[in-house]
Amino acid sequence: MEIQVLFSLPLIIASFFAVFMPVFDAILKKNKQIIFLFTLLNFLLVIVADIFIFASPEFFTGVLKSGLENSDFGKFLSDAVSLGGYTSFFDLLFAIAGILTLFAAKDYLKKESYELKEFYSLVSFSFAGMLFIAHANNLLILFLGIELMSISFFVLSGFFRNNILSIEASLKYFILGAFATGFLIFGFAMLYGATGSLELKVIAQKISFNQVTPIYFALAIGLIFVGLAFKASTFPFHQWAPDVYTGAPTVVTGFMSTAGKTAAFAAFIVITKAIFLSNLVIDNATVNPPVIAITRNSREILAIIAALTMLVGNITALMQTNVKRMLAFSSVAHAGYILLGIVSNNSNGWSGIVFYAFAYVFMQIGAFVIVSLIEKENGSNLNLSDYNGLSKSHPFLSASMAIFMFSLVGLPPFAGFFGKYYLFLSVIQSGYLWLALVAVIASIISIYFYIGLIINMYFKEKEGEPLTVQCKTSGISIILSLIGVIFLGIFPSLLMNPLLNLFK
């Protein structure tokens, strides 16, 4: 097999399933089980393809890049998408998030009697969209990936079409999402005008030679950041997130707030790698052309956004009594932490983002799966007090929840600790000590509500009859998440080392 075919396999598989899923859907009229297995197959095949990619000798040696340019197919691909490298880790991440969501969704949808086959098609669409975001090497591909993902999410968040909350979430998400998309592609248009190309390679080149129209360029960066900051739900573009995450079906929330958010940050990485000058160039600059001023200022802006996001997210989460909404706000705060990696603008920061995203997928989806199990029909039983005495009636669920909470707080030896650790370290290294201080303060605030949940589960007694929980396939999600959280906490370098190599 040609090496570029192997490296583009994840994209091919995901596109194939996204295109044919509705067809399968039509052929296999009532058989939900098979559709479920098909979707699972989609994710598993992507993971297998990634394993082959990791095993291939070209993966780390960097031969791939020159190899790609040599063949016509490779040339065609490399103008549109970037293959191999860190993008493969994003494939893996999205596929894992998909699997975790899938198993949980089966139980959850059955409980809410909404087990419709379209769910699986929609998840597959959004999955394909995420992969294209991470692989994008062209503004057009990036745009299509973002839209494919967002439009699927609009529908998914309104999936409970008879539930007013779900509809409201969907409507808000749609209006604001489309609004943000407007900003984003207006920014793309400006970037196109400023540099004269849609290819990120060319754009990066033009910027480094200072061959841009400064006004369009400044406008472009501002508008693109607005669009991306919305998708990543950072302050002050975050307000949709708590509402949508609360109203949407819980498993969808889990998927959107992890994989969806990570995809937004993948887009951030793709864009900022192209339009930001490297720290070395900025620090040694003697003259002050507009591109340098813009990079500098936009990093300042992102730093402030990150700080405010962390603080606002955590402080508002503190006030919530609804667990789902609390996790929604905390997910806003986590977006702030991840943004630190973009601010630091170096390989440590970017690897930190990917690592954090992995940790975050495991702990956040794990937590949402448990919330989805405790939840009763029509979104009741979501309050903190409903978790009282959970340790008595469901020791496994409460112990897992406690571990996810500890990981979300950032206690060692769980994955969340190293995620924060790498990000904070990278941001200090690039000279933003104050931002790290804010981040640590914010994460101290977050202890209150994460630990509060644990107190409810362990230190309070349940009044009334104990909860009954139907946990079949969801158990698989929880166990996988637990393994992930603990494994990454004990062997962080297994993931971190390759990442650092790839981002160099």
Binding site: A218, V226, P236, P412, P492, L500
Partner: protein, 657 residues
Amino acid sequence: MYNIVWLIPLLPLIGFIFLGLVGKKLKSESLIGTIGSATVGISFLIAFLMFLKMLSTPLEAPVIVNVYKWISAGYFSINIAYQIDQLSILYTMIVTGVGFLIHIYSIGYMHGDRGFFRFFAYLNLFIFMMLNLVLANNFLLTFLGWEGVGLSSYLLIGFWYDRKFQGIRIIWTGHAANKAFIMNRIGDFGFLIAMFMIFVNFGTLEYTELHNILVSNTISYQYSSAIGIITILLFLAATGKSAQIPLAVWLPDAMAGPTPVSALIHAATMVTAGIFLVARNSLLFALAPSTMNVIAVIGISTAFFAATIGTVQNGIKKVLAYSTVSQLGFMFAALGVGAYTAAVFHVMMHAFFKGLLFLGAGSVMHGMHNEEDIKKMGGLQKYMPITYKTFYVASLAIAGIPLFAGFFSKDEIMWQTYNHGSAIAWFVLALSAFMTAFYMFRLVNLVFHKEERFDHKHIHPHESPKTMTIPLIILSVLSALGGFLGIPYILGFWFSHNPNFLDNFLEPVFKDANVVLGFSENHQLGGSEYLFMLISVTIALFSIWTAYKWYYYDDKWSVPRKLVLKFKGIYKLLWNKYFVDEVYFTTIVDPLITSSREGLWKFFDVKIIDGLVNGLASITTFFGNQVRKIQTGFAQTYAIVMLAGAIILISWLFFGL
């Protein structure tokens, strides 16, 4: 021999995992207790053998044993590696040794508790984490242990989470656990930032490497502001863990946990982690003289204030808790003046006698149906002879009566404070020492002597079982004789060049710091040292005499009663622990909660949006009428906020051109 050091922490870990997984199925308490204690006991034996080896062939440089590569990222690598040197082996022996005795004690104390296996699992977890803390060869692993002991202490304080517990804004034991956890996290914040700064400044997190870097550049690093900040942050972490001002308030509430936990974690081991952290980085701290001064001041003031509170409290564990805070203050005072050995010496002696005091208190409560109020005790001497005798020994030790453990260590600290510090510092410590002896013997008199003030119908005091008394006896022997490890030069110069065993033993660890501080190894015989020793002994004796006179020879306690009436304000202040809790709540906690509930959320969505809208003059009417109606929850309000954000963002970029 040294390369099997990983066994020391591994055994308690195995104990934790085993008991955690299958403990529920094990029906026999003695089996669970044996497994839990044996893992710690064997660890102690290994540590002890290493100690013996260290005695026979002295160790010049620390031995590093790599266990596992935790992080090996290109720019940064961290091994799980254990560092064996004199300091870590001493700490290991304290942790496992005292830990082992307390495990044994717990078999009797926790008898019949429904969470028996859980208790031992948590205790083993604690020991594992604590061993990681002290054996680590880098900051990150220490931090893991640091967080881990916080976590297991949290689990253990809240062990009886549904029991009532009296405290400021605390009703249930679970709340107390929570408070301790959060207070500790404030300190951890300092630890994390310090760690980051060390890495950025020195490029390493390993103690030995950092030490080498510092040793080769002592002059250029002295008075460097980076080291100043790092050490202050590390000290902030230490104040959290070791309950010093301003983070002292959690420790007394932590007494909500079962008594063996108080003895192990909140007296003997975990709370001395802060001292360990400073001692481990002695050179770093020695290079930051201003931090050293801060440490000394904080230590001395904590010693003093906590002792004053201790004199009026009535809960047996409360008195001991404040006594612990005060004694930890003594240790920090020693660290602050550069007397590292004295601090470690006192850590060790304190582990013996304070562990013993807590276990004794536990034994008393065990025999008294969990009664804590010393006003409702009295005359227990005849019911609990062993507890009484051992408690008495410990009290003599903490009071500083010659030949008992506390005499040597406390005297050393006070002398060093005078020698390298100032006379005022010495005087404050002497006052604290006076109060220490006083509240201890007040306790002894009220609990064990004189008439029985408890309700005979309901309470039938009895001596505790053997599993509880044997650890008491062992610890009392250590409290009585342990001090001979550190005989001061002036009392032993005639039989050895340097009779202070501990000083010799720890010399390789602290020698570089001592060089920087300008301390010479030559001891001088001075008349003043004898004089000071005489004074402190006199103080102790006078204080004990006062306690006897007020509480033993006076049935009506007329003097203390009169004092309380006369100095009502001061008494109220002390009784309420200087209102620190209340101050914290009203100045920090409440505003934080209300401002975020009332302020941020409403303010952001209502005030800012409205204000912004009203401010834009020309479109105000058009805009405002539409938006004024709009409250939170509306998609379009959010869109306005987004637009405002976008305008700010873009104009920033534009004006920055």
